[in-house]
Structures are given as structure tokens and as C-alpha cells.
Amino acid sequence: MSYYFAIIGTQDNPLFEYEFGTSKQGGDGQPRFSEQARHLNQFILHSSLDIVEEVQWTSNQLYLKAIDKFFNNYISCFLTAGNTKFLLLHQPTGGGAAAGPGGNSSNTRSSTSIGANPTSAATEEAVKNFMGEVYENYVKATMSPFYKVNMEIRSLVFRARVAAAGRKYL
């Protein structure tokens, strides 16, 4: 299971991006995207912005769940009050092939695990928690008097916090 997370500003401008892999079921937290897929990920993610704009007026929730699917890539969206989009692309790797040596014992369970089934309730819950934690840190970032809306987030602390949230929930 590999993830590509991006924060998109109100002008559809990217503010932050981060790639990581699952840390559950013995995953090592490394993304397993091919070099080609990494370029494609950005396109897939940004193409789902159209759908975000449709969905955002049908629900007043912050977390809009999985909104888009492109072949084996699922996109979850979280929308802040200030219309900044948090988009998470998840790409399940079939049959837990990416699981490390310690992951073999859990293979029987993996059909219900977060990694294998991106639309299950457990996955939605995990992504929601992840997004919630990122949102908190994003608001803290915006509280800096030197930060203006739609500025790129360069803070290394922020990046570390997103990575920690990824390890914790995904």
C-alpha cells in the first residue's frame, strides 16, 4: 500500500506533498510507486479536484471520503473551512506483496485490513483520523503571523508531523 498526500490551496495550487507507504502489517513506511506512477499521481490527484468541487456542496462534513477512483488508485478528500483541499491517493498493492517479512502471518487478515480494501469502513475511519491530525497541524501552520493563505508550507516540523500521522493511522 502506497500513499501520495497533497495539500491543494484555494487557487488549485499545490502547497505541500508527501509520499509514504503503509506502516501497518509490517509495512516499512516506504512508498512503492514506480517512477512513472509518481508523475502520474500528481495528474490523478489534480484531476479529482473537479469532483471535489461538485461534492463539496452536497455535504457539510469536512471529510468527504473516497471521492474518485482511477484504475487501482483511490482518492480521499478532506476539505477545510477555508477551502483548502487535503487529497490522499492510495494505491493498494495486490495481496500484500509489499508487506515485509513480518507481514506474512497477517496475510489472512489483510483482506479486511486498511491496505487491501480502500473503501471499507475501517479504511475510511483511518483516513479520517489521519486527515484530522493533518488539519490540526495545518491550522497551526496558518496561525503563524508570517503565513498567508495559499503559501507553500515548507516547515520541516510540519512534514515530520504529517509523517508521524501517516505512521500512526495508515
Partner: protein, 298 residues
């Protein structure tokens, strides 16, 4: 005697050593002080130290004990500071890039809710606000221009408040405002409560059929105007334009682009209950109403 110069020395020291950040360009002040040590040797004043050579520590101490009373503390006492432990940070500076507070705590380590209920002194706000107004007043051509500038000062505050106040809501009731009424309620209740400690007094929709895009938030006694008295020739001015800017920031941030202006409506007749009554006129862009109609249908 000696103690007379002591407080000064102490403040300098704490100024250098006790900063929250190892602010890097400290060399300027430090170097400045150090290099100044030799030159302003108080020779002409005291007549006893004729030499202009770099001061020796014990000589300085002697000097101090002898003629401490008039000794300029910055010249001699700084030698202690300068030779003391190096003020942290020069290493990080050479590496360039990010600087961290010495405590290691950044803005990300602060809980968002800590200052939820804390309040600010109104006097200090009034002082700051008067400076903001006089800053905005520089090189303006008219009252409208001045109000525009006050508005712009408030705008980024509104953009940021929107997310802050939403995340402070309990998780179950966190919801993005989807229609105008929800947004205005959020402003009337949450924003006002946060900024002024009470809700806005009234919320009205324009009864004029020609302007269905206008809404009014009414505050009987805007807090920001508490100590503002507007001169007669500028009676059009309402400094709550700053608050109007905050409201505009909230509306823009929530994807309800609007123009917000502040108007004084009180003070027309004698013995009125609310002479400072202010109406914040929120005029939404046409596309907002268009979308509102579509959502209402769906």
C-alpha cells in the same frame, strides 16, 4: 555606587543571553559593543585612564571600583558579557536555513485550544488600534480609501479565524457552512463570541426586493469603536471597517465572495440608546446567490 550601573548591565546581559530564539545577527550588537570598548575609554571624563589600548579585565574592574559612578556601563561592563559564554546560535547560522527556538518548541507544539478562553486587555487593543488607524491614514486620499485600508488589515484575520474557530468546535458539530444563513450565523455567533466576547445583536436580510444579495449584521456598540471619536468633518468614517474586513475575510475564505462595509446608523437623534450602532452590510457576489438557488433546489 557601583550598583547604580548594575541594572543596566543586567538588562543587557539578559537581552543577549535570554532570547527565545538564538537570533543570529547577534554579532552586530555584540561586535558593536565589543569594538566600542576600547574607543570610548572614558579618558576625557575621568582623566585617569589615558591609554586607549584594549581594556584588561582587572583594570576595568579597578576603574569600576574607583569611578564607577559615572562610568558608562555599556563600555566597560560589556566586556564581561562579551567574554562570557558565547550566545548560542552562531553555529546554526553558518548552516543557514531554519532556526528553532532554544526550547525546541515550535508553533506546532502549542495546543490550539490553550488560548481559547484567554482575553486581551482592551486598553492595549485600543492603543494598537489607534496606531493601526493612523498607519492606515498615511497618504490616503479620502475616507473611502482609509476604510478600504482598514478593511484590508482585517481581511487576513478573517481568513485564518474561519479555520481556527471551526477546529475548536466539538468534532460532532464541525461543519462547513454551505449556505448564506449558516455562514452568517457562524459569524454572528462564533466569530463575534471569539472577538468580542458576546454575540452580534441582530442579523437581518435586506427587505428591498432589488437587493436580495444584501444582509446586515448589526452591532449596537462595536468594541473597536469604544475609544474612537470621529471628527465632525469625517463623520462618514466608521473605524469598524476593520471588523468589516474580518467578516469579508471569513466570507471569502468560505467561498462566499462578498463586499462588506461598516455604516454608522446611530447618533441621529438626541437621547438615543445606541449612538454607536453600526451596521455591517454584507453584499454577496451574484454567483453566490446563483449557487444558493441551485443547492436549494437539489
Amino acid at each position: 555606587m557601583h550598583s547604580a550601573s548594575l541594572p543596566c548591565e543586567l538588562t543587557v546581559q539578559s537581552e543577549l543571553g535570554g532570547r527565545a530564539y538564538p537570533v543570529l545577527p547577534n554579532p552586530p550588537d555584540k561586535r558593536g559593543l565589543r569594538s566600542s570598548t576600547p574607543q570610548p575609554s572614558p579618558a576625557p571624563i575621568f582623566g585617569e585612564s589615558k591609554q586607549a589600548e584594549p581594556p584588561h579585565l582587572d583594570r576595568i574592574q579597578q576603574q569600576n571600583t574607583k569611578s564607577a559612578k559615572r562610568a558608562p556601563p555599556t563600555a566597560s561592563n560589556m566586556a564581561h558579557v562579551a567574554t562570557g559564554k558565547p550566545v548560542g546560535g552562531s553555529k546554526e547560522q553558518s548552516g543557514g536555513g531554519l532556526r528553532y527556538p532554544t526550547s525546541g518548541k515550535t508553533i506546532y507544539h502549542r495546543p490550539l485550544n490553550r488560548s481559547k478562553t484567554s482575553e486581551l486587555s482592551q486598553a492595549s487593543f485600543a492603543y494598537l488600534f489607534s496606531e493601526m488607524i493612523s498607519y492606515a491614514q498615511k497618504r490616503v486620499t479620502g475616507i473611502q480609501d482609509l476604510e478600504k485600508r482598514l478593511n484590508l488589515q482585517g481581511h487576513p484575520i478573517g481568513l485564518k479565524l474561519l479555520d481556527l474557530l471551526l477546529i475548536r468546535e466539538p468534532a460532532r458539530t464541525q461543519a462547513r457552512p454551505l449556505n448564506i444563513i449558516a455562514l452568517l450565523h457562524f459569524i454572528k455567533i462564533n466569530i463575534w463570541q471569539h472577538l468580542f466576547g458576546r454575540q452580534a445583536d441582530r442579523l437581518e436580510k435586506s427587505s428591498n426586493p432589488d437587493t436580495p444579495d444584501e444582509y446586515m449584521i448589526i452591532d449596537n456598540e462595536p468594541l473597536v469603536n469604544a475609544y474612537v471619536s470621529v471628527p465632525r468633518e469625517m463623520s462618514q468614517l466608521n473605524c469598524a471597517a476593520f471588523v468589516a474586513g474580518i467578516i469579508e475575510g471569513v466570507c471569502d475564505g468560505a467561498a462566499f465572495p462578498a463586499r462588506v462595509t461598516a455604516h454608522s446608523v446611530g447618533g441621529k437623534e438626541e437621547g438615543e440608546m445606541w449612538p454607536g450602532k453600526t451596521v455591517f452590510l454584507v453584499k454577496f457576489q451574484p454567483e453566490v446567490l446563483e449557487r444558493e438557488a441551485l443547492i436549494g433546489k437539489g
